[in-house]
């Protein structure tokens, strides 16, 4: 199954990312040990020059990870026709034990990468690069994460056998299954809706508040993560039902299919963008007291929070439109 164009592309992207971070790792150690912005020594000049290269490499890797997530989901959905019993991405990811771990790892790296990019951005805007050490230490932490993604993808794609009977989303997201996803599906629509809108409203309010007053930066990240979980729960518990116009079809992946006009992308793209920006706004908060960043950080985090607020608002609006436009009646 390795000879699938999209699979080759994904593996290529992951392998190049790991290789780049691997090359950057010794340099990151050097930076952590020897970086001293006040020194004018030969070594410091060398280090400063090289940071340009490795920062660019790291930005490139992180941007690749953001795109990889999209390609991974897109590909899983397309592959589903190869497997007996698989009707959407869930079936394709369930073909072996590595599918969902690979997706979750890719999502985790996505959000970590978003946080790293935010820190990198504020760092390059200060004249004395105060966060260089922290940035490169974080890079060392990200290396195993990206390597784990590569390993999981390899295990997943190499162990695909096109004739395995997989469980379709019906059994994973139906009310009877005893699992986290089953519990999410079993939520009756009214509490799910209340949780959905309250969490999204809260995330929007804190983000908008931060964008205006520049206070409560950590709260933006926290509410963003909560809203992300609530949004996924809401999609499984009721939004998908309205899109399919079917009271028992809870799948969060089928909405990505052309049969449903790719409506899922309208939901997921703003949601992921908003959550990433919210996390980014939180990630830069620890450094707001650094002398050279006093001006920069509030500005940047306010902007990120504004994007996050807009993203959550768009997501909620799109979900509401899907629900009201649907012919399904869940609540009398």
């Amino acid at each position: 199954m390795i000879f699938q164009p999209a699979i080759i592309a994904l593996l290529l992207a992951s392998a190049v990312s790991v290789a780049m971070l691997f090359v950057a790792a010794p340099f990151a150690l050097q930076i952590i040990r020897h970086w001293d912005i006040r020194s004018g020594s030969e070594r410091q000049l060398q280090l400063e020059r090289r940071t340009y290269l490795f920062s660019t490499l790291a930005v490139f890797v992180m941007a690749t990870q953001l795109l990889s997530l999209l390609l991974f989901v897109f590909n899983a959905d397309k592959m589903s026709e190869m497997f007996v019993g698989a009707m959407c991405a869930v079936g394709a990811l369930n073909v072996n034990a590595y599918g969902f771990p690979a997706l979750i790892a890719q999502m985790t790296v996505f959000f970590l990468a978003a946080g790293w990019l935010a820190v990198n951005y504020v760092d390059t805007r200060a004249p004395d690069y105060p966060l260089v050490r922290i940035k490169y230490a974080a890079l060392l932490v990200l290396l195993p994460a990206v390597a784990a993604v590569l390993w999981l993808q390899l295990e997943y794609f190499l162990n695909l056998r096109a004739d395995v009977i997989t469980s379709c989303c019906g059994s994973l997201f139906s009310e009877d299954t005893k699992s986290l996803t089953g519990d999410m599906a079993a939520l009756s629509p009214i509490p799910a809706m209340i949780g959905f809108y309250v969490a999204l409203g809260l995330a929007f309010a804190t983000a908008a508040f931060h964008a205006q007053t520049r206070r409560g930066g950590y709260a933006v990240a926290a509410t963003s993560i909560v809203a992300f979980v609530a949004a996924l729960t809401g999609i499984i518990a009721f939004v998908s039902l309205y899109i399919y116009e079917h009271p028992h079809h809870h799948c969060p992946f089928c909405i990505l299919k052309p049969e449903y006009d790719w409506q899922g992308y309208w939901l997921y793209v703003p949601l992921f963008a908003a959550t990433a920006c919210g996390i980014g706004a939180g990630a830069v908060q620890p450094f707001r007291r650094v002398e050279s960043l006093r001006e920069v950080i509030p500005q940047v985090s306010a902007r990120l929070a504004a994007i996050a607020a807009a993203g959550f608002l768009i997501f909620a609006a799109v979900a509401t439109v899907f629900v009201t436009r649907s012919n399904l009646i869940l609540i009398e």
């Binding site: 592309a9 290529l12 795109l67 026709e81």
Partner: protein, 378 residues
Amino acid sequence: MKSWIEKQRHLIDFTLSSLLRRRGRNLGLLVVYSLLVFVLASAMLYSHALRREAAVILEGAPEVVLQRLVAGRHDLIPPGYIDKIGQMRGVQDIRGRLWGYYYDSVVKANYTFMVPADGSVAKGALVVGPALARQRGLEANTGVSFRAYSGELRSFIIADVLPQASEIASADLILINEDDFRAFFNYPAGHYTDVALTVANAKEVRNVANKLSKLLPDSRPILREEMQRTYASLFDWREGIMLALLSAAILAFAILAWEKASGLSADEKREIGILKAIGWETGDVIRMKLWEGGLISLTAFLLGFVAAYVHVFKFGAPLFAPVLKGWAVLYPRFDLVPVIDGLQVATLFFFTVFPYMAAVLVPIWRAAVTDPDAVMRS
């Protein structure tokens, strides 16, 4: 935000004018880059169109086809077999089918003889496929004769030629009356080639197949979705092999891009030196160079993709068709329906722009960190 956009706009302006100043050099890279995109995109577009064509054709196929096996080989359906299946719940229609192959030594090709389900062909008449009609120069109301299995020559009148639009499925097809078919091939009475079952509910297909293999252990049910899946993986595999072979080209291209980007001319070096001397930062130079790479990539991607689109859907992909579609004496001529798939565009982007950008990062940095005085003094 606005100032950021302004800044990028000025950078792009500057990059474009500097690209145009070294027209010849960049044009060479652009041509090679577009060619690479063109080759990869042609392979992808063509195999995707074939995959879709196969899917569209199979949509009209019966949900289940039942074949009888004798010692693992396909055998005729004996009389009474269809009655044995009888009334199975979920099955809308059961029909014995009659078809077979015939080798014609005149054109050295195999034909497919088939009895249409609706009995629309009269005795002594034939309806033939377009590729076959072309090869043997047949038209409606002309005569044709074939040597039957009994050894005698049998003549038929061509009642009609099947429309060109159906050629991909009917290139070598001959539709014939049931009595003629049995007489021509000495086909035993009451026997059929296989059985087609129509199942209305897609979710019942597997149950029906299970029941069939229990009821008739010497038979093999073939499901439509199995055929669809097989075709899909077949074309995917061919496409993947092509891409794996072409990956050598991608690698070569990445090396070329690296070389191009690192072999800065004295002119370019001086330009960077002057820019830094008048106050550009290293970061700005990197940004400018990245824009340069991005603009070349985007242009090459668009040019290559459009050229591939025209190559595949206007001219039928003469460069790749033999590898991707297979071959036969009576190969159908067909026009592919243009389809562009989002996943494919994304994949292609990863295959071309990603290696290029990865390859030029280091040379870009090398150029950007040069000291202005070192450059201007040399």
